[in-house]
Structure formats: C-alpha cells, structure tokens
Subunit: 436 residues, 2 copies
C-alpha cells in the first residue's frame, strides 16, 4: 500500500482498507465507491475512490468523515504487488504505455495533471481488465503526447513488433490524445500486423476530477482480442460511457478540445462499434483478419519534413526557408480543393527542381483535394505538387515522413504517396462522410 | 447580345432569342431552360441555359438540334444593356464582387473555371434578383479567393463603408469560398455597421458544369434587406437548394472541399436560416438590429503576422524564424486544449521578451482552448502566451492582424484579444455545438 501519514492514519481511524466499499462525507457532498491504492509519488492527504461509473476521483480528506460500507474482497491484482495474475485460458494482451491522460495522475491539490502512472498502475486502477485477458504491461515513455516525436513512433513500433513476435494476441497502446492520430498513422505505415493494435487514451475535461480511461481501456482490450488485425484508435463514441468506436489509424483525428467523443473518422466511417463488451464491425468495411498478414516492421522515416498552413498573408519566404534549411519534403495545408496564393507557386517550382516533394492537403479537412478544377490548382499541379487525395493533413505529414524514409527519389516518393499503403485514402468520393 | 459566329448562326437558324425557353437535343440527352446571354470573353460554340433548378449550364452546340419551347418576355434587365432597372419602391442593395466561383465563368471547352464575370453580369445571370431590390453593382477585384491578401480586406471594407454612407440598405459581397471566412472575420472587426453585410459565394463540384450561385445570391439579398445588421456568411445549408444559413462572420469556416453546404458555424449555431425567401433568426441569438450602430470603419491592420501549425516533428526554429524575420505576432494552431512540444516554449519566452504576442488556438477546431489543465499548458501560459478561447484559428489570425493594427503594446494587444469585439468567441462552454 502506498498511502502514507495523514491518509494512512485516516484509513486506520475509520477501519478502511484498499478494495473496501467506503463513503466519504464532506459538509455538503459525499462520495461512495471502492477505495483504490494510489500512485507512489502522489501527494498525501487524498484518497482515490472508484465510483460505480468507473471513474476514479481523488477526495481530499481534510474536514471529512468516512464510513465503511462493505469490506472488499481481496483485490484480484494484489495491491502493493507488482505481479499481475495469469490465467492460461485467457488471451495474452500486451499493454504499452506512452503516457498521456489515460496513464496520468491528477494532482488533486492543484488540479493539474501529470503523466505518472506506470503501465501496471493502469491495470491496478482498472481491475476489471483482469476479467478479459492476461497482461504484459510496460511503460515505454511517460510523456504527454504533445511531446511525442517521430523518433518515438519508431521505438513504439519496434516495441509492439517485439511483443507480437513474443506471442501477444493483441496490443493496446495507452497514449495521450493530443497527437494520438499522428502516432496511429505512423504505426499504420510502419507495421503490417497479424493481430489487432489498438491505441487508446482518455479525454478529461478540466472541470471534472475524473478519468474516462476505464471504458476506453476495457474496450481496447476487447478490440485487441478480436479478429480485426489492424491499427485502430479506440475512444468514446458519445458523451457518456455507452459505447466506443474503433477508427482506422490513418483516417482519424481529434476534433474537439475536451469532449470524450473527440476522435472522429474523417472522410470515412468508424470501422467498428464496441458496446456491452462486444465488437460490431461495420459490414461495409472489408477488414484484415487476424493472421492474414505476417508481421512486418518498416520504421525508416525522414524527420525533416515541413508542415505548412496556407493563409491570406502567407509569404513565399516561408517556403523558401524550408528549402534553404534542407527540409526533404513539405506538406501544405491549402485552402478549398487544394490551393495557395499564386505568389507561392514559384517556390514550389524551386522545391521540385531541388527534388523536394510537396504534398497538397486541405484545411477544410473533409472532402478530396482536386487541383484540376481551378486555374490555381492547375498551376500548382504544373510545378509537380502531389495531391493528398482525401487524407487528413496529419496523416499526410506522417506518410510523407515514412515515404521519404523509403526513398529519396522524387518519382518513387510520388508513387508511394499515391499508393494506398494502409487505407489512408478512399478510392471513391467521400461526400457523404461529413461531420460524422 | 454577345453571342457571335457559330452560336449566333445557330440561334438564327432555330429562331432562338435571349430570354426564350428552349430545348437543345444531343444524341442521348436534352436540356430545357431559358437561353441566357453570356460573358463577353467566353468561347464561341456554346449556349448558356438557365435550368429550372436555377443552375446555369453551358451546352456545346456541335452535333445538337434545338427547338423553341416558348418565346420569352423581354428580359427585365435588358440583355446587352449596362443599365440595371430601378424601382423606387424597393430597397437599395449594393453588390460588391471580388471574384471567386460565384462570379466566375466556366470555360466549357476545358472545364476549368476562371474569374471572369463583372458584377453586373452577376445580376444578368440571375435575373430573379431584380424582383427583390435595386442594385448598385461593382467589381472590386476579379480574383479567386486564395489570392486574397490582408490589404484587400482593407479595400473591401472601405468600399462597403462608402456604399453604406451613400445610402445602401444592405451590402452583398460576392467572394470565392476558399478564404471567405478570413474575409468575413476581417470585415467583422473592421466595420461597425447599421445595415446587413452579407458575404456569399458558390461551391462548385468539379463533376457538374453548373453554378450554385443562384440561391446563395438571392438569399444574400433577402438577408441584406433584413433587420440583421451584422457581417454574415450566407451559403447553402444542405446538399440541395432547399435553404441557406447565415453564419456569424467570425464563427464560420469552410469544412469540406466540394460540398455546397461546406460552411459551418464552429462552436456556435448559425444565426439564421433562409427558406422560401424568408429569414428566420435563431431565437436564442441576440442580434444587432438595423440602425442600432452608427457606421464605423477601422481598417488599421498589421500584415506581418505568422500562422503556425504545431506537429510532432516541429522545430523551435520555426518560431525563431518568425521572430528573426520581424513578425509582429504569432498565432499557433496547437494540439488538444492548446499545447505544443515543450521544446518550443523557450522560443515563446523569447517572443514575449521581444514584445511579440503569441496566441494559442487548437487544431481540433471545436472546443475551447484551456491551458490550465496540463503541465504543458501551464508552462505555455507562464511565458505569456494568450488563449484564443474558442475562436477558430483563422479568425484568431485575422483578429491578431487587426489587434496589432490598433496597438503595438503587448498588454493592449492582449486586452483586445481577450475582448469580444465582434462575437468572435463564446462566453460559455460550447460543448454542444460540435460538428453541426
């Protein structure tokens, strides 16, 4: 047990043990739930309680009284132990934690959130996980996802490939939400997988001291046990805990700063819905079945790729800067069907002359790039700019990093960008898949 | 009349005149509609026909036969004339054309679209407009909107202010869709208006030789005659021609590359719906009534503003470059609640030290920036970065250009950015206004 001093005394005073159902009474509010153990480095003076909703909250014990509602069973995972129980009848799921809110601890004193949980803490904080699988858990990083870098994608892909080689029946990656879709795209390009690879996280709104990691994690494990051998993002499908969606790793994007259902398939439908622990795959989606692919790992990437948003005041100097600085490729977030001010086109010509692929995407996010409609688009095509088709700008950026890792030949990179490597673009118009 | 040679001979041959209802028969398709006059500089060999849907199409006459269905009335506008009729009982609407698809002509030979119509051509191509108002039409620019620059916003605002001073009861701006929302935001900050200022355009999908300008223009005129004295965008509300929406000029964004209903209110509801030529204002929206404001024009802007999207491989050199190059302000499109890699924060500190305001927005687009939740956000706040609240990144960029035009003092710019100048941010959480 990691409770110390004040909290420990308080527990002894009221006869509370970890795993017990307890009630903590404040002046005008009371909390009832299962008393959990807490991370090693958390502040003293708080108890962590799992509410019946599955949310874990921290309750400051100052000026409270407590009561024991029901003595708990001995916790399955053995709080305070590092070993996770093993059951030969269950599948083996590897959980790789990279940090992020899903594996963070809130500092209940300041309200700020720090990445702090270890991967095994994830299981301890969500003991229902033990009903579904055996776990091999490891903490690869402990960072918030805004600090993910392309080199970390490589290490994560290698770790996942190792786990699959070692016999994992599925892999769950706990990840911060900010850049989860960049990482899911990177893993999609880097790995051909015989088993599901599911990326999940938690979206926590600032006004509630709770984590929505519970259902996302459990449903990710359900997905990781399924027949869907693809890289997917598993996150809330609505504002409540009713169901989650699996989104294709290359077709998904974080669309809201704080909602739990922030992740959305762009120019595509979700691959599957998970409700009541059951995966329902979209019947229109032709998925890759477990075991259909051999494991392949290809992590060669080029990190010197620029990512530029076009806007009315943009200067061609900004494109020139990237060329001068030795960037190997550029992704442009253009306007509309894939446009930039005509002023910039000379600089795209220079990029072409210097063997630097430039890929055009749209800041509209939805719909397809089509540079054949307007005179500007045709001028842009004339200087060798390559269409991002209906890929998100973020997936296009990740794909260009990967494509430039495969080849430094302009024509070959163009060929890769126009080949559907990991379902990253739709073959047909996606006009119906709008704001869904 | 501007038909010449082949087309003129063809019309004489079949006894067709402008304004007549005609039918053109091809081998396997026929078109019935009103024969329109055509722009001066268009190619020979095509007739322009207005279908009953309101769409104008170009029909190549080669290998066709034609028949006269019904002789037309003398066209109201006098085709071939430059004078537009005036009716003292109607309101006076100023139409300012800046170019874009709404005022473009398709080259029916190549399928490409060029900005070519003059503003009076707009009325000629949409004669129903004459039922609703008198028009003062002028072509301010003739460009596609990707070539709009901040200095053009200034000229447009000045022109609009002149028209209002000269007695216009409302102003309609015809504009390309790519950057329409940047311009609508700019006009919102630059103008306090006693009359409606309505920006409209057309979204043309590459696969159909038709323009959806008709209903957008007519509904814009209806809006310009209304009681809503604000800067609004008027565009299709659905895939068909059933209704249009009025969106607040600071809260709107192009969200699809090709759909007609591409413009969407972000973190807000549309202000009004226009159906069957009737404006229904959202009852929850507290609008500014006609005449409530005196006309005020404030076009001071700073054009040297950078607009940077954050991504996993971004280098702090991006920020340093903008500081070195003398940029006066930066807008960051961060991830999630408003984050960037911690590597960049030192450069934000340098920006602060050099009196360069940095404004944080989110590439999620939906939801509010909140840098108080995570440690990264707090670090970013500590170096003076200013929240973009729930403004779109594009509106934030435009607002910072304008704010830096009002003051070069950091504290004053911060004060302006946090003041709701033109309804650009919501006072409350907008969690419900998601993907609508």
């Amino acid at each position: 047990m990691t409770y110390k001093e004040n909290a420990k005394n308080y527990m002894e005073n009221y006869g509370l043990g970890i795993g017990d159902k307890i009630k903590v009474n404040k002046e005008d509010i009371s909390y009832t739930g299962i008393l959990l153990d807490r991370p090693e480095d958390a502040d003293d003076g708080y108890l962590v309680i799992k509410l019946s909703s599955g949310y874990n909250i921290g309750v400051a014990i100052e000026n409270t009284t407590a009561e024991l509602i029901e003595k708990g069973e001995k916790p399955k995972i053995g709080f305070g132990e590092t070993e996770i129980p093993h059951d030969d009848s269950k599948q083996n799921i590897s959980i790789v934690s990279t940090g992020g809110t899903v594996s963070s601890v809130i500092d209940y004193r300041t309200g700020a959130v720090h990445p702090a949980f270890t991967a095994s803490d994830l299981v301890k904080a969500n003991p229902e996980l033990l009903d579904y699988a055996n776990y091999n858990v490891k903490a690869l990083y402990n960072i918030l996802s805004e600090d993910m870098k392309p080199e970390y994608w490589v290490k994560a892909a290698e770790e996942i490939a190792n786990d699959i080689s070692d016999g994992a029946d599925g892999v769950v990656i706990a990840h911060g939400t900010d850049t989860m879709h960049y990482t899911s795209a990177a893993l999609s390009f880097m790995l051909k997988t015989p088993v599901p690879i599911i990326i999940t996280g938690a979206q926590r709104s600032s006004d509630r001291p709770s984590s929505d990691a519970n259902i996302n994690l459990i449903d990710s494990v359900i997905a990781a046990k399924s027949d869907l051998a693809e890289v997917c993002v598993c996150m809330h499908g609505s504002l409540n805990d009713e169901y989650t969606y699996l989104h294709k790793g290359t077709k998904v994007r974080k669309m809201h700063t704080s909602r739990r259902d922030t992740f959305r398939s762009i120019n595509a439908q979700p691959i599957a819905k998970i409700q009541n622990r059951k995966v329902s795959i979209n019947p229109e989606y032709n998925y890759t079945k477990r075991g259909a692919n051999e494991l392949e790992l290809n992590t060669s990437i080029e990190e010197k790729v620029g990512f530029i948003k076009s806007f009315p005041g943009i200067s061609k100097d900004y494109i020139e800067y990237h060329i001068d600085k030795g960037y190997k490729g550029l992704v442009i977030e253009g306007t509309g069907l894939g446009h930039v001010p005509n002023d910039l086109i000379d600089s795209f010509k220079r990029a072409q002359d210097e063997n630097i692929p430039v890929i055009m995407t749209s800041q509209c996010l939805y719909g397809r790039v089509n540079m054949n409609v307007y005179s500007t688009g045709r001028n842009i095509l004339d200087v060798g700019v390559i269409s991002g088709i209906d890929m998100t700008p973020e997936t296009t950026y990740v794909k260009l990093c990967w494509a430039l890792g495969q080849s430094d030949d302009y024509a070959e990179v163009k060929e890769i960008m126009q080949t559907n490597v990991a379902g990253e673009f739709g073959e047909k118009s996606t006009i119906k898949d709008f704001l869904n």
